[in-house]
């Protein structure tokens, strides 16, 4: 089985801090990581390959600037067989529809039986690219996967909802979006780290895939959505902070507000 995992390089938002003066995000020096959900998807792909042990392959693909190469090499060091980076100025500024169009073209080019993406990326947080790739490729999908079991000729996925779960049987070719709960990613293998930095990451440019989509439907200009304004959230007026209280005084201060606001 040809398993392809779509990964995204994202800033480690756990490390992102606010500039106390401008209230802007400080992104300088913030490390880049493989998005958590994607990494869980990659781990699952590696486990499937090991379980099948029949010559199945795991390929990783990413779209982004040349620096995203680092994330792909990390995936190789975890055990992926091949890596591709879709990188071109013409891809820049794509919204989820345009991004999915480009990645779907890349997937058609490299070939696949099972596509795994993360549910959502921690920077954009839309959860749209996975389903939109599946749509472009006319694949059945199961999103929000929290468990996965292989059967003889199908995959059974535990699909999480807010109030329950479905056990869903799906046949390849198909697309699955992974929750970070799906699996605990392994560490990079020391031997493979060296190999990863010596191996080639395939580059896919606009020229390589331009015949697979309408070139007017990608990039900043071709995206159906347009960001017209970005702003930092207006600060809320400050409340009161009480210090140096005894436990009794603290309770009294809270009780006063609870009663005043009819909360009890």
């Amino acid at each position: 089985m040809r398993i392809v995992v779509c990964i995204k390089q994202v800033p480690d938002t756990a490390e992102v801090k606010l500039d106390p003066v401008t209230n802007n995000l400080i992104r300088d020096g913030v490390p880049s990581i493989i998005n958590h959900d994607d990494k869980a998807g990659l781990e699952t792909a590696l486990q499937i390959r090991e379980q099948l042990n029949d010559g199945s392959t795991v390929t990783v693909i990413s779209m982004g600037p040349p620096q995203a190469d680092v994330a792909l090499r990390e995936a190789l060091a975890m055990g992926a067989d091949k890596a591709y980076l879709m990188s071109d100025r013409k891809f820049g500024g794509s919204d989820t529809y345009a991004t999915a169009t480009i990645i779907a073209a890349g997937l058609r080019k490299i070939g696949f039986d099972l596509v795994i993406t993360g549910r959502q990326a921690i920077d954009g947080d839309t959860a749209q690219v996975g389903p939109q790739i599946a749509e472009q490729l006319h694949l059945p999908q199961v999103t929000y996967a929290e468990e996965l079991t292989l059967e003889k000729d199908a995959i059974v996925v535990k699909r999480q909802f807010e109030d329950k779960a479905h056990m869903v049987r799906i046949k390849t070719p198909c697309l699955i979006t992974a929750l970070s709960e799906l699996s605990e990613p392994r560490y990079m293998n020391v031997g493979k780290i060296v190999d990863a930095y010596n191996s080639e990451v395939g580059i896919i440019t606009f020229e390589d895939v331009k015949d697979m989509f309408n070139p007017d439907w990608i990039g900043n200009q071709g995206s159906p959505t347009n960001v017209v304004k970005s702003f930092t959230k207006p600060a809320k007026t400050a409340g009161e902070v009480k210090t140096n209280l005894t436990v009794e005084q603290a309770v009294e201060a809270i009780m006063e507000k609870l009663i005043e606001r009819h909360l009890i």
């Binding site: 947080d125 389903p131 929000y144 329950k164 779960a165 056990m167 159906p224 959505t225 702003f231 959230k233």
Partner: protein, 351 residues
Amino acid sequence: MSIEIKKEEAKGVFVIAEQRSGVVQKVTMELIGIANKLADDLGQEVYTVILGGEGIEDQVQPCFEYGSKNVILIKDPMLKEFVTEPYVKAIYNLIAEKKPNIVLFGASSIGRDVAPRVAGRIHTGLTADCTGLAIDDGTNAKPEDKGLLRMTRPAFGGNIMATILIRNYRPQMATVRPGVMPLPERQKGATGNLIEFDPQLTPEDMNVEIVEVVEDAKKAVDITNAKVLISGGRGVGGPEGYEPLRELAKEFKGGEVSSSRIGVDNGWIEKSRQVGQTGKTVRPDLYMACGISGAIQHLAGMEDSEYIIAINKDESCPMMQLADLGVVGDLHKIVPALTEAIKAYKQSQEV
């Protein structure tokens, strides 16, 4: 596949109802509220679309009562349990026929599964997790944007907000998180137009098989419906640290316990109770943050709460800045004492 809907023919604000186990969820009513505002500004009407199986017609009346003038009912056995393709095809066929101007979905695990595929199949834009929706009055970016849907959403953990337009395609589509828009007043006995729609599904549309439906009791609690949330973070110290919070939550009508990410990541409490960007967005009447310092991604999920009380040892933490009332002190002492004080107060109020 794609369909082209011309701007001038696109009419109506559609709300795709969130139906779980045959029951339309509160987020749908919240969407009806904002849809009515948008529709009034446009001089158009609201249509709530309910998809489901046998018995789903019982869900029509509440939608009328929360203010939807029209309800479109799509009833088919294949729509009983949520499966992507039958839902996507039914909504796509509806949009192709009715040509709406705006389509809104709840940003739930269902809405976020189906909406991207519908938008992709049509070739139109979709904005995820909007916190603000308004009709452009022509005084913003360009005068010719007048009448477009301005969709505002947080990015990068909630500090940066972006306003997004879909200028060239219809319908304009958005998902909205549960709990973000206010719930409109219910008008008991209100009626409206009921329209039935045949989704034109075929057996091949069921391209996956539901082997089993797993009801999970732990997940049954929906913290987005709670009126009061007593929320714990790093400061509670461990799984047992949530116990006094549960005791306190019991003293409030509609009180529940929630958590920041750290409690969930450490396995102290179940994931369904997590508030924040990677958890749920909540807007309770009271949010009491106990030992939560207030990482950006947590604040993004609760900052619109009606009233916020923070109990924390660190007076300079972000949660203290956000809170309406911040109390600097030891939550392990204050929380149990507060529970006792509320009990005593309630007794004093009994006649």
